[in-house]
């Protein structure tokens, strides 16, 4: 089945630095969803991107969907300690099957 590859696997930054995680697929994605999982918690939905080239912002978070719908990125500007966690992208394979990338674990040095 379609693989959704996410990089990097880990990222450690100083508080205030920016952070970006990338999600890539060899085939066209139907749409892309992003989730955040705090340490010890469950994944929480952040956003869904549907259109080619779409860009959405949530405060310091910027989400992009590639023009070819084969990649997506999440960028956090000026990280804060509350941003700590693992960020996942996910895609539907078929109508019902939601498959996740391996996630990027973000740690922050205050």
């Amino acid at each position: 089945g379609q693989q959704v590859m996410q990089i990097p696997q880990y990222q450690h930054v100083q508080e205030g630095e920016d952070f970006t995680t990338y999600c890539n697929s060899s085939t066209t994605l139907s749409n892309i969803q992003w989730y955040k999982q705090r340490p010890g918690g469950h994944p929480v939905f952040l956003i869904q991107l549907v259109k080619s080239g779409e860009v959405k912002k949530q405060k310091r978070l910027t989400f992009q969907f590639g023009e070819a719908k084969k990649n997506s990125s999440l960028h956090i500007t000026a990280t804060q300690t509350t941003d700590v966690g693992t960020y996942f992208c996910a895609d539907f394979q078929g109508a019902q099957k939601l498959v996740f990338g391996q996630g990027t674990r973000l740690t922050i040095n205050p």
Partner: protein
């Protein structure tokens, strides 16, 4: 409003013992239901999903099975647990054809 309940929150079971994890959804009907497993520090692995009562799609051959005896109830089972079954088990629901799944709080299973 819709809510999803998953229990227990933590579980320690000996190797070879059976397992039953239950997930129920309230406030909606005919949801899509999902079971995921997350090994420590790893990603989310889709185990099973269901689009209706008695309809189970299995994604990974393994020591586990799933059942959906009622519209809003999803059960994950094993007859004999293995050490490799340890992990964080997450149930999720989604309205058919709409948007994104909501996750339960998860069950942290340790097989000893």
């Amino acid at each position: 409003s819709q809510t999803i309940h998953q229990w227990p929150a933590t579980l320690v079971q000996p190797v070879g013992s059976p397992l039953s994890l239950e997930c129920t959804v309230e406030g909606t009907s005919n949801p899509n239901l999902y079971w995921y497993r997350q090994a420590a520090g790893r990603g989310l692995q889709l185990l099973f999903y269901s689009v209706g009562i008695g309809q189970i799609s299995s994604e990974v051959p393994q020591n586990l099975s799933a059942s959906r005896p009622q519209d809003r109830q999803f059960i994950l089972s094993s007859k004999k647990l293995l050490l490799s079954d340890s992990g964080f088990y997450l149930c999720a629901w989604r309205l058919w054809g709409q948007g994104f799944p909501f996750f339960g709080q998860g069950t942290r299973l340790t097989v000893v």
